[in-house]
């Protein structure tokens, strides 16, 4: 496999974790209770930690002295390959939990497949991450059930979030050219094969949470091809501020 294709493939995985990690990081100090605040920050930390492992690996594949920071902070919006779901803004806690739940279910299925990759480093990262993401999914599923089967208001709010975010779920299974090449070489995960298991799991949790499964079939495209929603630019201006203002600054 060409180094550049592997590089692009790694970024495709890592960008989801970076952007969701950043979104969750925005909530540090703003969680509804101390415990949920800490939980959200913990999940953010896991995701950013995973991102660092991926980016360090990717940076090592280039001979131009590129670092993980360059990859994280110095790309343009269209060079980020994350799905649209993870860049959606934080509104209320129920919305944050549904976004998390929709991603966690995918993430865990994905990592379990990545553990079978022929690339040793990706396997090592997946082995580590799968343990962490098991906790994430437990946490977000728990909250979806609690809020769905909670009060009238919590039920309404979370149902609204489910209906709103549903359109971004299909994007998780869109296959890019880079991914096809990676799958062919035994390195990548065939995401389209995860789709049935994904929706089955999502539906069972939503049903348990007394929530209805959306039936509309319109799905928003973009993300993995670098075409993002309007929210992405704002997120990046926050994320990249320090490196853009003080180039090459270090802690």
């Amino acid at each position: 496999m060409k180094q550049d294709t592997l590089y692009q493939y790694i970024l495709g995985i890592a960008d989801n974790s970076l952007i969701l990690g950043q979104r969750l990081g925005e909530l540090c100090g703003h969680g509804p209770t101390l415990e949920t605040d800490i939980a959200i920050t913990n999940i953010s930390l896991d995701l950013i930690g995973q991102t660092r492992s991926y980016y360090q690996y990717a940076a090592g594949l280039c001979d131009d002295g590129r670092t993980e920071d360059d990859i994280a902070f110095l790309r343009k919006e269209r060079e980020y390959r994350n799905v649209l779901l993870v860049e959606q803004p934080n509104t209320h806690f129920g919305y944050v939990m549904v976004r998390q739940f929709f991603f966690d279910v995918f993430h865990l299925l994905f990592l379990k497949e990545l553990q079978q990759s022929s690339d040793e480093t990706l396997v090592a990262i997946a082995n580590k991450a799968v343990k962490e993401v098991t906790y994430h999914q437990r946490f977000s599923s728990d909250w979806v059930k609690r809020l769905g089967d909670g009060t009238k208001e919590s039920h309404e709010k979370i149902q609204e979030a489910v209906d709103d975010l549903w359109r971004y779920t299909e994007g998780l299974f869109y296959v890019t050219e880079v991914e096809s090449a990676a799958v062919k070489d035994g390195i990548g995960v065939a995401v389209s094969s995860l789709k049935d298991a994904y929706y089955e799991h999502i539906k069972s949790v939503l049903t348990e949470a007394t929530l209805s499964v959306p039936e509309h079939s319109f799905f928003q495209k973009g993300g993995k091809d670098g075409i993002h929603t309007e929210h992405m630019g704002y997120l990046l201006s926050d994320l990249q501020y320090m490196q853009r203002t003080f180039p090459n600054m270090n802690w």
Binding site: E35, Q50, I125, E132, D142
Partner: protein, 173 residues
Amino acid sequence: MVIKFDGLTEVTPHIEPHLLDVLETVSDPEIPVLSVLDLGVIREAVEVDGVVHIKLTPTYSGCPAMDVMSDDLKTAFEKAGKKAIVKLVLAPAWSSDWISEAGKKKMEAYGIAAPLDATADKEALLGEAKVVACTNCGSKNTRLVSQFGSTACKALFQCNDCQEPFDYFKCLT
């Protein structure tokens, strides 16, 4: 020290005995009663031509203590008159089974409940069974407050009898 890896293979970290004394002095900055040896994060420590080469593995991917541990290891060996090079390794992934028995006792004495085995841990963290004992009074009548605690590796519990809130070191196998 023999540590289990994935419940199948036993993986013994390769640590040269003469380096143990210095390693024992370096602790986890977030749980200072535990040394890096107690925690099982040292995968290899060998001395080649007067330079100590250490392989360190993180407990969690984003563990911020790793950079500190790495610096502390270098400083500790510097004090002993040796240069140390620390490398971070990801495989095999760290498991809470690698925490030594002595480490678990120190953890309990420090007020953090040590990780249970995988099944009991799952029951505890799903709130299905009362198996985590209070570090203050020993009662098992405790409840899970949050699956995530003050650091990535801990969950938050509270005792229903003495009301003591305490950390539980999560099982990660």
